[in-house]
């Protein structure tokens, strides 16, 4: 089924939304399609958004399952608390909006109504990090991992790409805790093929190395992989771990890497405080590992505005930048 078939109502095949869903952000379709697969498997899932059904592609799901979709308008907090109410009736709601609004604006509703109440709500924070480029700080989310990680009883996942998101959503069917999924803008190149193996809390080791191991998450896995390839080709022993689950963190993976490598470099599209770097620091400091940690990401500042690719270059969050960072560390 193409998007043209799934879209109903005001969206016509020649329109801007159509192209957005299909051409501009191909990664977006994974969310709707993974949810549709859950419906087809008989799971009682539903979806909701807060006036962003084209940005997150849920328009596709809404067209297919209009009875399982709720449009909340621009009221994110109502959406999250209502999702909790929905979850009490036996449905599993997936609610999506920009990560800045979900992870920050709704933080208290998430703690109280979702995480503390231990309800199977799935929160999808999309366009996380600085993916919204020149939309500016209001639309950036470089704090959400730190915030969500501080909330007890919440699983925090930052898939690297659409296929991994789909795999995580599939795996979520049996996951008892509420989940915060942090995703990008759907324009990232894929790291994985369709429905890769996925286990919550089980990191994926791409490469092992003795000089340095990169632990990356989310949108940073792809450029890190490119960087690692180049670095290895130049003779450096650099490892790479995809730490898709920020919480619960795969301690063993961190400790094994810290055992093997002199240096651990975390790479995240997030403040270097409190997020992936913070989580890895806690494990390393408590274990008293010999390796030292270096955190790469947004250095506790507000990003400039510019198109996202320009920002990734500026903040050395693209493959070339990460490669340079590693070279600088190792020399």
């Amino acid at each position: 089924m193409t998007a043209a078939e799934t879209l109903a109502g005001p969206v016509n095949p020649g329109s801007w939304q159509y192209r957005q869903l299909n051409a501009r952000a191909p990664g977006l379709s994974y969310l709707s399609d993974a949810l549709s697969a859950l419906v087809e498997d008989g799971h009682p899932v539903m979806a909701g958004t807060a006036d962003l059904q084209y940005s997150n592609g849920l328009a596709r799901f809404a067209a297919r399952y209009p009875d399982r979709f709720i449009q909340f308008g621009i009221s994110e907090q109502n959406m999250v608390s209502a999702a909790a109410g929905i979850a009490t009736t036996g449905m599993t709601p997936f609610v999506a909006t920009f990560a800045s609004f979900l992870g920050l604006l709704c933080c208290e509703q998430i703690r109280m109504d979702v995480a503390y109440s231990a309800l199977p709500v799935r929160l999808i924070g999309h366009h996380a990090g600085i993916a919204l480029g020149f939309y500016g700080t209001s639309h950036h989310a470089t704090e959400d991992l730190a915030i969500m990680r501080s909330i007890a009883g919440l699983t925090v996942v930052n898939p690297a790409d659409g296929p991994q998101l789909a795999a995580a959503i599939k795996a979520s069917a049996d996951h008892p805790e509420p989940i915060y999924f942090r995703i990008g803008r759907g324009q990232e190149p894929n790291v994985y093929d369709d429905l890769p193996d996925f286990r919550f809390g089980k990191a994926i080791e791409h490469e092992t190395g003795t000089d340095l191991t990169i632990i990356a998450c989310g949108t940073m896995v792809h450029p890190s992989r490119e960087a690692v390839r180049a670095l290895r080709a130049s003779g450096l022993s650099v490892g790479l771990i995809d730490m898709h689950t920020i919480k619960p963190l795969d301690r063993e993976a961190v400790l094994a890497a810290a055992e093997r490598s002199r240096i651990i470099l975390t790479v995240e599209e997030h403040n270097i405080l409190g997020g992936l770097g913070g989580a890895v620091a806690e494990v390393m400091a408590e274990a008293g590992t010999k390796a030292v940690l270096i955190r790469h990401g947004i250095r506790d500042e507000y990003s400039l505005i510019a198109p996202p690719t320009h920002l990734y270059r500026h903040y050395q969050l693209d493959a070339a930048g990460i490669e340079t960072v590693v070279h600088d560390i190792l020399s």
Partner: protein, 322 residues
């Protein structure tokens, strides 16, 4: 007014297991016994509130007293519940935006057989599930946790929507404080409920006129309140919140009307502290503690005996457990 004296935890004159079936009762036939029963249940709420707060050593007497008749009417006349089955999927739901009045709800939940009555005796003590605010993860019969004012109407709307998707029809009652009207999320939920034509959502505003820092109208005025709800697409009913007959009639009428597509807001005019004179007159009682020697007098007043002049001067004794 019935004169039976009730001391300590009250007996259950109508039998705890009774499932009210208001659908088949016309409002007109609200029998005197029913009224007496509901009034007795409201007194039970007040007396239990005093008993439990004596354990905690600080609590929300006055917030609970203002909605005692609401609790009683909902739990013994309006709501469809099954004794001993707190998770019966077709039950009506009750949520408390003003979760700090939960101390008055717990005795009713125990009465419905949702948890052993003995739990009440450990109110707020380490390991006991019953705290100042209701907690669905700990207390069977609590349909949703609260404590952060402003979330409950959203959660209640979610239950309506979820029920719809699951093919169940139940009514969802959400009790809100009048100070709660100041939280923006309430208006997000109000707008959404009207948009979703959530006819089985019933908001009840306990319009007791006070919030923590004083009179609502001085702290942050909310009037004209009925106009607000109407402008947000709700059907509005104003009622004396201490008149169980009026309340029961109204809730029965709302329940019978299965075609309603607008959510309904009941603005219940109440007195904060209702039942104990000096609490009605002193806003500081929002959070307080009755010294043990004042308990008996307060109980006597609730039971219908006039308060002594000395007591009428009192203010809240100091709680130390906050």
């Amino acid at each position: 007014m019935p004169t039976t004296a009730i001391a300590g935890p009250a007996p259950d004159p109508m039998g705890a297991g009774r499932t009210p079936t208001p659908e088949i009762l016309a409002p007109e036939i609200l029998a005197p016994e029913t009224i007496a029963h509901l009034e007795e249940r409201a007194r039970h709420v007040r007396l239990e509130t005093i008993r439990l707060i004596a354990i905690a050593k600080v609590g929300h007497y006055s917030s609970t007293f203002s909605c005692a008749e609401l609790f009683a009417t909902l739990y013994y006349d309006a709501m469809r519940l099954r004794h001993g089955e707190p998770r019966w999927p077709d039950r009506d739901r009750f949520l408390m935006g003003k979760g700090h009045a939960a101390v008055g709800l717990y005795p009713l939940l125990a009465d419905w057989g949702f948890f052993p009555k003995e739990l009440l005796d450990g109110y707020t003590r380490l390991g006991n599930p019953l705290g100042d605010h209701p907690d669905m993860t700990k207390v069977p019969g609590v349909d949703f946790s609260s404590g952060s004012i402003g979330h409950a109407l959203s959660a209640g709307l979610g239950m309506v929507m979820g029920g719809r998707m699951m093919g169940r029809r139940f009514d969802v009652y959400v009790m809100l404080g009048d100070g709660e009207m100041q939280e923006g999320q309430v208006w997000e939920a109000a707008m959404a409920a009207a948009h979703q034509k959530a006819g089985n959502l019933i908001a009840i505003v306990d319009r007791n006129g006070y919030q923590l820092d004083g009179q609502v109208d001085e702290v942050m005025g909310i009037e004209p309140l009925a106009d607000k709800w109407r402008a947000f697409g709700w059907e509005v009913h104003e009622v004396d919140g201490h008149d169980v007959a009026a309340l029961a009639t109204l809730f029965r009428r709302l329940k019978q009307d299965k075609t309603r597509r607008k959510p309904a807001c009941v603005i219940a005019r109440t007195l904060k502290g209702k039942g104990v004179g000096y609490m009605e007159r002193e806003a500081g009682w929002h959070l307080g503690y009755l010294a043990p020697e004042d308990e008996a007098a307060a109980i006597a007043e609730i039971m219908g005996q006039p308060a002594s002049p000395a007591i009428a001067q009192k203010d809240a004794a100091q709680g130390d457990a906050r």
